[in-house]
């Protein structure tokens, strides 16, 4: 019985010192982020979106919140929770949420939505643009192309451990955002190093690192020296295989040089954080644009990440030149995968 009194006492103290913990910031503009099931710590996609949210909070003075989805049943109620509280902008992170966003956006026509990597999809599965949904698309093939230039030239000039003139990539699931990266990558390799051997594979998972590692070890056994991962959390396993066998890897979405220093030579950047920040700013300034919004090299929506010191200066110049050519329209990277693996 004494223990119960102690418990009650503690809770009374807590109650008397309680204060409201609702929201942050003084601005009346509210931005809500709903992540996909990968969780906030995937070191790429969801993490970048969350970074954008925090940037918006600090740079624009808006108040923001994030809800993590744990299973697909959560998408609709999570989006609805923000909509019911009259958030000004509700951002759905990821292609799996296209149908859920369509449903909720239709029910709340006065709330603005944005989908990263997707457009609203109706119950039949067809794209159906809505006046209150912004589709934030990225030209991933442009980022894939630039890192493909780096990989292709490293392999051609046999830089460091890239001695076999073989490069490879691994996607999570063959969905457009993933395949665009790989398509650009392969296009660049074929352009700067036509004699290179190109391998490709899929882990069928965005979370399981063991599977990614398996595919990586398989590719390395076929002489691949540069492994480009396009598989979120699973791709970290692909990078781990490269590290274990002493060859090179390329990260995706965020700058992943810290995932395996000395192994990761660069990353294909998808500035999801910029998309979140820009869209938040647009809502705040009244310049929100529904429908397709593209983020590409021309508006710094994609790029390439920190180059490892092993990459020589001339290859860096080539990468910068490729990026400039893409910006000017001189190069248009392909967006269909040629080597499916």
């Amino acid at each position: 019985m004494k223990r119960l009194y102690a418990l009650a006492f503690i809770f009374t103290i807590l109650a008397s010192t309680s204060c409201s913990a609702l929201g942050v910031g003084g601005s009346s503009v509210k931005i809500g982020l709903v992540t996909d099931i990968g969780g906030l710590n995937d070191k790429s996609f969801n993490a970048l979106a969350n970074q954008g949210r925090l940037d918006a909070q600090s740079q624009l003075g808006v108040s923001t919140s994030v809800i993590e989805s744990k299973k697909q049943e959560d998408y609709v109620p999570n989006l609805t929770t923000f909509a019911q509280q009259n958030y000004d902008l509700v951002i759905a992170v990821g292609f799996l949420m296209t149908n859920a966003t369509w449903k909720v956006a239709k029910q709340f026509p006065n709330v603005k939505f944005a989908i990263i990597d997707g457009a609203p999809a109706n119950d039949k599965g067809d794209t159906e643009n809505l006046p209150n949904v912004a589709n934030l698309f990225f030209k991933e093939q442009e980022a894939g192309y630039v890192v493909g230039v780096v990989a292709g030239l490293m392999a051609k000039n046999k830089v460091g451990k890239a001695t076999h003139n073989t490069v490879c990539s691994m996607g999570g699931i063959p969905i457009p955002p993933v395949d665009h990266y790989i398509a650009g990558y392969q296009d660049a390799i074929k352009t700067v190093n036509p004699s290179a051997t190109i391998l490709n594979g899929y882990s069928n998972d965005f979370v399981d690192q063991a599977k990614g590692k398996e595919v990586g070890l398989n590719h390395i056994s076929k002489n691949c020296d540069i492994l480009f991962q396009v598989a979120g959390g699973s791709g970290l396993g692909y990078i781990a295989a490269a590290k274990e066998k002493g060859v090179y890897a390329i990260g995706v979405d965020a700058d992943q040089k810290d995932a395996a220093p000395g192994t990761v030579i660069t990353s294909a950047l998808k500035r999801v954080n910029k998309a979140v920040l820009d869209t938040s700013r647009a809502v705040k300034d009244g310049k929100y644009k529904a429908g397709d919004n593209f983020f590409s090299a021309s508006n710094d929506g994609v790029g390439y990440g920190t180059l490892d010191p092993v990459v020589p200066a001339d290859i860096k110049s080539a990468a910068d030149q490729a990026l400039a050519d893409i910006k000017s329209g001189k190069i248009t990277p392909k967006d269909t995968v040629q080597v499916k693996g």
Binding site: L7, L14, A15, S18, C19, S20, A21, L22, G23, V24, G32, I37, S65, V66, I67, E68, K70, K71, Q72, E73, D74, V76, P77, N78, T80, T81, F82, Q84, Q85, F95, L96, T98, N99, Q107, D117, G118, A119, A121, D123, K124, G125, D126, T127, I173, P174, I175, P176, N204
Partner: protein, 362 residues
């Protein structure tokens, strides 16, 4: 001759006291976590309560989660009662979902009065068939059902990848989301709360099926001779084991029944919520179900209340994130602590009483 059933030393321990205390301990420790991370536990739990029960919409959402959870827990419990561990509720749920999703789409043109019952049957039979595999392996080869059911979970997950990602069941979708063709309108479990009462409610007729399943569970175990025999076997009664039906058939039958409950849960998720099968959907119900079954002490009322509690935690967790800025992992922490405390209690009592079957200790 009555089976020799050993009674726990204290009648007090038989009722809801232990589960309630487990939940309170978990909530208390959870509050400490919240404090340690620099937030206010009162605000956190306030948001939790509000999110779960604050408005009719919130209650409706809590129930939407509670329905598959209750059914999955019944699946786990019916096996527990016989002394079997069904860790495969998740896999059985998915098989039921795939079966219902396929059937509902394949025969989409049939009218609801025919299609819906048949789809329900497809879900139940799919789960039952899958569960009976583990039962058969145990009965004929003595393979531990814990191992088989866990492996079966993974098997169905991988098979679903194959089926739905450009496989035989995948349907063309915007942006290639791996999913099956939509089920016919006749196979849909309708939303039972009209928009005028609770706008946007997702609560569908599956809740009626779940309520019926709870009654069936109770009736089966406490009103049939088979049920009496199953419970007696679970409590270690050797006489009942010899005098009843052949033990091999009993094992297969129980695992089939368990699979059937879980398969129904999967069917409900497809028919009531998504109207098609998505790759990777409904993750976690089968595993939460084990905690719910333990917390509910494998009784019909206990399971229902425990499922509501867990559903409230998960639904309330959403508001806790958006309003109180608490990490989503706190809810998982609390659920884990509940499970831990209950497991500890079971272990302690089992040790104190010497050898006994798992059903006895519960």
């Amino acid at each position: 001759m009555a089976p020799s059933v050993r009674q726990p030393s204290s009648q007090w321990a038989q009722g809801p006291a232990i589960p309630v205390i487990s939940v309170l301990i978990a909530l208390f420790l959870g509050a400490l976590f919240v404090l340690a991370s620099g937030h206010n536990p009162i605000a956190a739990y306030g948001a939790l309560l509000l999110g779960a029960f604050g408005s009719p919409y919130d209650i409706s959402e809590t129930l939407v989660i509670a329905v598959p959870l209750t059914l999955s827990a019944l699946s786990v419990s019916v096996a527990f009662r016989t002394g079997l561990f069904n860790i495969g509720a998740q896999g059985q749920l998915l098989v039921g979902a795939v079966a219902a999703g396929w059937f509902g789409a394949q025969f989409a043109s049939l009218p609801g009065i025919v299609l819906l019952p048949l789809t329900i049957l497809a879900g139940i039979l799919g789960g039952a068939a899958y569960g009976s595999i583990a039962g058969w392996l145990k009965a004929t080869r003595g393979v531990n059902e814990v191992i088989t059911t866990i492996m079966q979970n993974y098997t169905v997950i991988y098979v679903m990848h194959w089926l739905l990602q450009d496989g035989p069941m995948s349907a063309p979708n915007a942006l290639g989301t791996p999913a099956s063709a939509p089920i016919g309108d006749g196979a849909v479990l309708p939303i039972i709360i009209p928009n005028s009462i609770v706008p946007l409610s997702r609560l569908h007729a599956g809740i009626l099926l779940a309520a019926l399943a709870v009654v069936v569970f109770w009736f089966l175990l406490w009103r049939t001779s088979l049920g009496y025999e199953l419970r007696a076997v679970g409590l270690g009664a050797r006489a009942a084991a010899q005098a009843g039906i052949d033990p091999k058939r009993r094992t297969i039958l129980v695992m089939a029944i368990a699979g059937g409950f879980a398969g129904l849960a999967g069917m409900i998720q497809v028919s009531g919520l998504f109207h098609r099968v998505y790759d990777g959907f409904s993750s976690g119900f089968g595993f939460d179900a084990i905690a719910v079954a333990l917390l509910g002490k494998n009784s019909p009322i206990g399971i229902t209340l425990a499922a509501l509690l867990f559903a409230a935690f998960q639904r309330g967790g959403t508001l806790m994130q958006s309003n109180a800025q608490i990490s989503s992992h706190l809810v998982e922490n609390i659920e884990a602590i509940v499970l831990f405390v209950i497991a500890a209690e079971t272990l302690v009592r089992a040790i104190a009483r010497g050898r006994g079957t798992p059903a006895e200790a519960l």
